[in-house]
């Protein structure tokens, strides 16, 4: 292991610690949640690193929530690319306050190990990105709360809507988008606004928009 990656992993460890501290400090009490908070649906989650959490505990900051499955050949790699493009289009200061939560619709196969393998394969190392699963029944409830449709097709594949939902720190829906690829301008504007509203110090870092960010990692199409 060279010095650089050691430094990276230290930094990532530190970042994790900060995220955890942040979580502990900001978990909203369920009773105090706004009536329209999606955190009223609050199942236990199991993250890619095996960490146990709950849906409500992922709050405390603005986040994009979406659903996917690890073995998905088509839409899911694109969802990850789209989230990356959105992330890159944000000013660095704002970006650091944005959480990205990817919930599996295939919890039977998407074990923490499988989610972790996907994170490694897709180089998802930023601790702001959380890949997690819930029980099959809770997964249905999370999708219902998020307005995401999915159906197991019986051959291991799923039909599902590729919706990204922007939540405020208390779990209220601010915006949603199903546009894959180049970031949806309206959705991006809503994210910027939310990050600005959550912290007035979110400006001045300079916009690091990168245009050609699509990694075109689409695997072979599925047989139907």
């Amino acid at each position: 292991m060279n010095g650089r990656s050691l430094q990276d992993s230290r930094r990532s460890l530190l970042a994790w610690a900060l995220v955890l501290l942040n979580l502990l400090a900001s978990v909203p009490a369920l009773a105090a949640l706004p009536p329209d908070s999606l955190f009223h649906v609050n199942p236990a989650l199991e993250a890619a690193n095996g960490r146990k959490t709950t849906f409500a505990a992922t709050g405390g900051h603005v986040q994009i929530v979406t659903m996917f499955y690890a073995s998905c050949p088509m839409a899911c790699p694109l969802i990850i690319d789209t989230l990356r493009n959105i992330d890159r289009a944000l000013p660095a200061a704002g970006r650091s306050k944005l959480g990205i939560l990817m919930l599996s619709i295939d919890p039977e196969r998407d074990t923490p190990a499988a989610l972790n393998a996907l994170a490694v394969e897709r180089r998802i190392t930023d601790p702001r990105w959380v890949l997690a699963r819930a029980t099959p029944s809770d997964t249905r409830a999370l999708a219902a709360a998020l307005g995401i449709q999915y159906r197991a097709l019986g051959n291991g594949d799923f039909d599902h809507s590729s919706t990204m939902v922007l939540l405020d720190s208390e779990g209220r829906v601010l915006a949603r988008s199903s546009k894959l690829g180049t970031p949806d301008a309206e959705f991006l504007a809503a994210i910027r606004k939310a990050l600005g509203a959550e912290s007035t110090a979110a400006t001045g870092e300079g916009d690091t928009t990168s245009g050609a960010a699509t990694t075109a990692a689409v695997k072979s199409g599925r047989a139907r």
Binding site: P35, R140, A145, R151, D159
Partner: protein, 266 residues
């Protein structure tokens, strides 16, 4: 025999633990044999049918009286307490008060004005669940004498006949219509009913594969995707269910509970 004892013990425990909400196997639920099922929904695979495991299903829709007993024990699910994220403003609106049916909502009428979240919570309190769409569709395909009456004009007429009735009429009590082959009542004649996977019915495939993912959410183009376009009556139900949000309530939407049939599974 040990299994039987275990079942009885569990039944007693559930009946006590859920505070009077009877689990299905002790409440005389109908036993529906599973099998290969040809749904009106496209399977999305090369197989024309899906496998449905044996299951138990409430013989009637959950009534106002039954749901009242549930909210009495579960304060969180009383009108006024259930958060807007889990039930919209129409939640139990036809009742006089949070724990009072009043003169309009009769005890043996099906409970309506319940969201998917509320319906699910009720079934979970009975250690049960909502039926899946395939389960509901399979049970509802039977008439009094045959398992799959969907091709019979009389069965189709019954469904369409109900749709054409004005929906502002007072609801009948549950169980007024004769039961079908399995002894299940009112699947087509009383209220719309939630299914557990209501948010799985109208999805398009991969967004890139079939063009605009929103396209199939519309009834017209969605209906094109059904396996048998002549089964329009069932397609209407799918169209309604898939237009709902999990927090939605309507005056004509109720539910019943289901459970895996453990004895048939083993």
């Amino acid at each position: 025999l040990p299994r039987l004892i275990a079942t009885v013990v569990m039944a007693l425990a559930f009946a006590g633990g859920a505070g009077g909400a009877e689990p299905l196997h002790s409440a005389g639920a109908a036993r529906i044999p599973g099998g290969e099922w040809r749904s009106v929904l496209p399977t999305g695979t090369k197989e024309p049918s899906v496998r449905v495991e044996p299951f138990l299903l409430d013989r009637t829709s959950v009534t106002n009286a039954q749901f009242l007993a549930f909210v009495r024990r579960n304060e969180r699910w009383r009108r006024g307490n259930a958060p807007a994220a889990l039930a919209d403003s129409g939640y139990l609106k036809q009742w006089r008060g949070p724990v009072d049916l009043g003169p309009v909502a009769l005890p043996d009428q099906p409970v309506t004005g319940v969201s998917w979240f509320a319906a699910r919570a009720y079934c979970e309190a009975r250690h049960a669940r909502l039926p899946s769409w395939y389960e509901w569709e399979l049970a509802a395909a039977a008439d009094e004498t045959t398992q799959d009456a969907r091709r019979q004009p009389a069965w189709q007429q019954r469904l369409l006949g109900w749709y054409s009735k004005p929906s502002n009429r007072a609801l009948a009590n549950v169980g007024a219509e004769p039961g079908n082959l399995y002894g299940v009542h009112d699947l087509h004649s009383l209220v719309w009913e939630w299914v557990d996977d209501f948010n799985a019915l109208m999805v398009s495939g991969d967004s890139r594969e079939r063009g605009d993912p929103d396209q199939l959410k519309f009834c017209g183009s969605g209906a094109m995707a059904f396996q048998n376009p002549d089964e329009y009556a069932v397609a209407m139900r799918i169209a309604l269910l898939s237009s709902l949000q999990a927090r939605s309530t309507t005056a004509n939407l109720g539910f019943r509970c289901a459970q895996d049939d453990e004895e048939q599974h083993r």
